[in-house]
């Protein structure tokens, strides 16, 4: 159970059971849908941009504990950041959840609780779904993003 606790930390349960920013944004400037065909996770990410700054970000959908918590933590982290800062964070986050030798990234803050998925290769896609969907929203892709 020890390494299961690494994956399912309290913060993750907290965010999966009570996801933050879990609602649509009516006057969103961007939105995109993400889908993981492997497990059926579906979510929509809404963005409200003020120039290059993310004024508001939210999501809705249904998914496993990891994907829901990851989306929730992502929305909390991104508010007020610039698009460039978001890109940087995405790269750092992606590395942290996939690369065993990744150095600790202080800038990730709370997002670091998701690093446990490194030991669960089948679940990396759950942790990154919201982020890939966010990328699609930023790039204004119309098609649903798939993790496959």
């Amino acid at each position: 159970m020890a390494d299961l606790r690494e994956l399912y930390q309290e913060v993750i349960f907290d965010h999966s059971k009570r996801p933050r920013n879990f609602h649509p944004i009516v006057d969103a400037s961007r939105k995109a849908q993400g889908f993981n065909p492997l497990c059926g996770d579906k979510l929509t990410v809404y963005l409200k941009l003020n120039g290059e700054v993310i004024e508001d970000v939210s999501f809705e959908g249904c998914g496993c504990a990891i994907s829901t918590a990851s989306a929730s933590l992502m929305t909390e982290t991104l508010k007020g950041k610039t698009v460039q800062e978001v890109q940087h964070l995405f790269e750092a986050f992606h590395q942290a959840v996939t690369d065993d030798h990744a150095r600790a990234h202080d800038e990730l803050g709370k997002l670091q609780v998701l690093c446990g998925v490194r030991e669960f290769p089948a679940r990396v896609k759950c942790a990154t779904l919201a982020w890939h969907t966010l990328q699609a929203a930023l790039k204004e892709k119309q098609d649903t993003v798939s993790t496959e």
Binding site: C39, G40, C62, C64
Partner: protein, 421 residues
């Protein structure tokens, strides 16, 4: 042979001893996963292989690997004999009239695509109808969607009830003057439902409509006699019945296969090839077997069927039914858990969802206790939509599973609850 000795243990109590003996034939089951003895309950996705099948494949490559149907040399003759002997074993196993009706394919999926394209495409006209059920695997939906798009035919879907049962009255309403093909699953991989395929076929035949049966999930678990069923086509995969991956079977009535154009062109499927006169086709079943086949796979599948026959499909079905009853009883007592698929006629599949826990999380936590199940939509997204769920966790049984495996599963589910509070 070890199985022959244990197969005779008919008494219910002794049968469980039988399963304990049978599992010894499967070397993969001796390992530990995450430090726990492997409990393999993902048999509906793919079953494990007995030593006899592994040996047969190994022996082919070590002792007589060569191409079939074309060599004058000894190895090619030995390989051809073994491959054709396997075809005959399959014929006998499903009780086809002739081995000309047994076509080797890559699996059930390719077999169904073959029927859709070779049989369906020439037969379907705009406005014609193909009937499938709401519980089909994607492999018995998408090939028909493709051929409908090519021909302008329309796909009609027989609904299912809340238990996951085929609604026969609704089916009868859909059968009509425009119906050209009925394609239906024998046993649902997502729900475990055993469909009344014999009645389904009789009703279709009353309208002169041929019936294609997807038997991928049925052949390993229930007795299949294609002549008794009266089906026109029957598809199944080797790897779900303890055989190799990459090999499967299409059974088809000889007169239908005879009238169908080839599915793929290439070597082995032709009689003559000429730039001047065009090409002519080989006889059945070779007309549908272009290119060098999965020879070791075919031979391995033959041995897998020998293995199953030595135990007896009825003994396997009885054992798996016992596991299903035992698991259903224990699992349905767990608060917050709901079984999806509660048909009266059911094969050894327990699909379930839990309050506040996604199937994917259930799968990860069980895996950590050595329990392999499937989590997701099981290639049956319309079934998930029907029950308004994103997916299920699914435990599926095979001949080597035991009540102890079920106990470990149930203990694992309690761990899930503990972890998720």
């Amino acid at each position: 042979m070890k199985v022959a000795e244990t197969a005779v243990l008919q008494d219910a109590g002794l049968e469980r001893v039988g399963a304990h003996a049978w599992r010894e034939d499967f070397p993969i089951l001796r390992q530990k996963v995450h430090g726990r003895p492997l409990v393999y309950l993902d048999n509906a996705a793919s079953s494990q292989k007995p030593e006899a099948v592994i040996d047969a494949e190994d022996r082919f490559y070590r002792e007589y690997n060569s191409n079939v149907h074309r060599g004058v040399h000894t190895l090619s003759q030995v390989a051809t004999d073994a491959y054709e002997k396997a075809r005959e074993k399959i014929r006998k196993f499903i009780n086809a009239s002739s081995s000309r009706e047994v076509i080797f394919t890559r699996g059930a999926t390719e077999a169904l695509n073959l029927v859709a394209q070779s049989f369906g495409r020439g037969r379907l006209k705009p406005g014609d109808e193909v009937i499938v059920s709401a519980m089909e695997h994607h492999s018995n939906i998408v090939p028909w969607q493709l051929v409908c798009k090519q021909t302008g035919a329309v796909l009609k879907v027989v609904p299912i009830n809340d238990a996951g049962e085929f609604l026969f009255e609704e089916y009868l309403k859909l059968l009509g003057p425009r119906t050209r093909i009925v394609a239906v699953v024998h046993v649902s991989n997502a729900l475990g439902t055993i469909n009344p395929v014999k009645r389904i076929i009789e009703a279709a035949h009353a309208h002169n409509v041929p019936v294609v049966v997807d038997g991928a999930q049925a052949v390993p678990h229930v007795k299949v006699d294609v002549r008794e069923l009266g089906c026109d086509f029957y598809a199944f995969s080797g790897h779900k019945i303890y055989g190799p991956t990459g090999i499967g079977v299409l059974y088809g009535r000889e007169h239908l296969l005879d009238a169908m154009p080839p599915y793929q062109g290439g070597g082995d499927m032709i009689r003559t090839v000429s730039f001047v006169e065009g090409s002519t086709w080989n006889e059945l079943p070779y007309k549908f077997e272009a290119g060098t086949p999965h020879i070791a796979g075919g031979i391995g599948l033959g041995v897998a069927l020998d293995y199953v026959s030595a135990i007896g499909i009825e003994a396997i079905a009885a054992h798996e039914h016992d596991l299903l009853e035992y698991a259903t009883g224990l699992v349905s007592e767990i608060p917050g858990l709901k079984i999806i698929g509660t048909a009266r006629e059911k094969s050894g599949i327990v699909s379930f969802v839990m309050d506040h826990v996604h199937p994917h999380d259930i799968g990860t936590i069980l895996d950590h206790q050595g329990v392999a199940i499937r989590a997701g939509h099981h290639c049956a997204m319309p079934v998930m939509d029907r029950f308004h769920i994103p997916g299920t966790a699914r435990a599926s049984f095979a001949l080597y599973n035991t009540r102890e495996d079920v106990d470990t599963l149930v203990a694992g589910i309690h761990k899930v609850k503990e972890l998720f509070g």
